[in-house]
């Protein structure tokens, strides 16, 4: 019963079919099977947020999703989000404010911040902090990240 199972899904707009072990989580699937190493495996038990990706349009913890359960799903990673240009301004704001230092949390942070831009365009600083509270950053102290998201929201209004 631990045999591999075939799944077909869409990743960053491309249809992919792979045979996966049931124990494979989405992040290992993306990184090891598809070579998409932008999503990071941090704590691997749902606490740190470095593995944040979109599944069917909503952000999820990639380390708490079975790859095998995603047959037919649509996954967007930081690579796809970045290439689409959807968050070009947000990424520029991250650079301008030095909101990335070591960069380990940054892909997950940008995925979560993009969720604010899409669903909560009126978010204030408190709402931004709340929305990003599940994404850990051990370098920046968060201020620069919140600044970058706030500036992007304001510029889009």
């Amino acid at each position: 019963m631990t045999a591999r199972i075939d799944i077909t899904l869409t990743v960053n707009g491309e249809r992919v079919t792979r045979s996966v072990e049931p124990r494979r989580h989405l992040i290992d699937f993306l990184r090891l099977d598809l070579g998409l190493t932008g999503s990071h495996a941090g704590c691997e038990h749902g606490v740190c947020g470095a593995c944040t990706v979109r599944v069917d349009g909503e952000i999820v913890r990639g380390c708490l999703v079975l790859a095998v359960s995603l047959d037919g799903a649509e996954v967007t990673t930081i690579e796809g989000l970045s290439d689409s240009g959807e968050v070009e301004d947000l990424q520029a704001a991250f650079v301008a404010r030095n909101a990335a230092q070591c960069g380990f949390c940054t892909p997950g942070m940008v995925m979560a911040a993009a969720d604010i831009l899409r669903h909560h365009p009126e978010a204030d600083r408190a709402a931004i902090r709340e929305h990003l509270s599940g994404n850990y950053c051990r370098c920046t102290g968060y201020q620069a990240i919140v600044d970058a998201v706030e500036a992007t929201l304001e510029a889009r209004r």
């Binding site: 049931p22 989580h25 947020g49 913890r61 708490l64 999703v65 359960s69 979560a112 509270s133 599940g134």
Partner: protein, 311 residues
């Protein structure tokens, strides 16, 4: 169900540095109906575990707190989906995700307590996957939803191959991480009596960081008459015991009285007879009792007319 001994053993393992973040090997099968679930359960026996949102189960697998032989994915079982109102009862399918609880209009209108609870549950990415059925089945003593359903006087609908039965939420939580669920049984829905014009409900909690499990928390549900008199108060505490704690002495201290500074003080005093919190990483029992009293004052004050709040 998480077996308590397995959890204890797992935690011991962690303490000894034997943890692993990779999941153990297991099989996977997707059920498309309840009939499918029963069939897969009988095929795979005791080693089978159900998986819905996976936000608790998969984290416990990372710590090897349990090692199922096969996961039965129930997310495509239509009988477990949907939110509807029928004959004065709000029916919430077990697969309803936390994020859906937060934006569903029927829930906002008929059980606003659940909507209010959502921002306290973990973080947005987890709320997009985690389900109400999963949260109730895992019965974490510091989780919000178990306390909310007890406060709401909800009924849980349980099903197995043998049929369906209903259990009152307050009878469902039987101990630390333990519930009335029998082997082979699952939660199909939560039935909530719908709110009336007199219904007041709210939730309050203290956590170290946003989204963390509560150090202490409280879900309240009561009726407030036009004269300010309280009827049928249900104060349910979480993070302070083995499961949600329905505070009976505190409720008795409030029932039939006019809500105000005096009756709130009486409720706070009565809590001493209701709560016997264990000490944990956050602090000793007295700290939890203190937090419970403070939260009680905050929560009940929200139902006072604005003119009385300062008093």
């Amino acid at each position: 169900m998480i077996n308590k001994q397995v959890v204890a053993r797992g935690l011991l393992g962690l303490a000894r540095g034997m943890s692993s973040m990779k999941w153990p090997a297991f099989g996977y099968a997707r059920a498309r109906s309840l009939q499918d679930v029963w069939r897969l359960q009988s095929e795979h026996g005791d080693g089978a575990r159900l998986i819905a949102g996976g936000q608790t189960l998969l984290a416990t697998l990372a710590f090897r707190l349990s090692e199922p032989t096969v996961l039965i994915d129930i997310t495509q079982v239509p009988e477990l989906r949907g939110v509807s109102v029928e004959a004065g009862t709000l029916r919430i399918g077990a697969l309803t995700r936390h994020a859906e609880l937060g934006r569903d209009e029927l829930i906002a209108r008929h059980a606003p307590l659940l909507r209010e609870a959502v921002p306290y549950i973990a973080h947005p990415a987890i709320r997009n996957r985690g389900t109400i059925g999963g949260s109730l089945a895992y019965a974490d003593p510091a989780a919000e939803l178990p306390a909310c359903v007890v406060a709401l006087g909800a009924t849980l609908v349980l099903a197995s191959a043998a049929g369906e039965r209903r259990v009152r939420a307050e009878d469902f939580f039987t101990g630390l991480l333990e519930t009335a669920l029998r082997g082979g049984e699952l939660i199909t829905a939560v039935e909530v009596p719908i709110a009336t014009a007199a219904t007041r409900s709210t939730i309050a909690e203290v956590a170290r960081r946003s989204g963390d499990y509560a150090m202490a928390g409280l879900a309240v549900h009561l009726s407030l008459g036009s004269n300010g008199q309280v009827a049928a108060p249900r104060l349910v505490y979480f993070g302070v015991g083995n499961g949600p704690v329905l505070a009976k002495a505190a409720g008795a201290a409030l029932a039939g009285r006019r809500l105000g500074a005096e009756s709130i003080a009486a409720v706070q005093a009565a809590l001493a007879g209701d709560l016997d919190p264990p000490s944990d990483l956050h602090g000793p029992p007295e700290m939890k009792r203190h937090l419970a009293r403070v939260l009680t004052g905050r929560a009940l004050s929200r139902f006072l007319p604005a003119t009385e709040v300062a008093a």
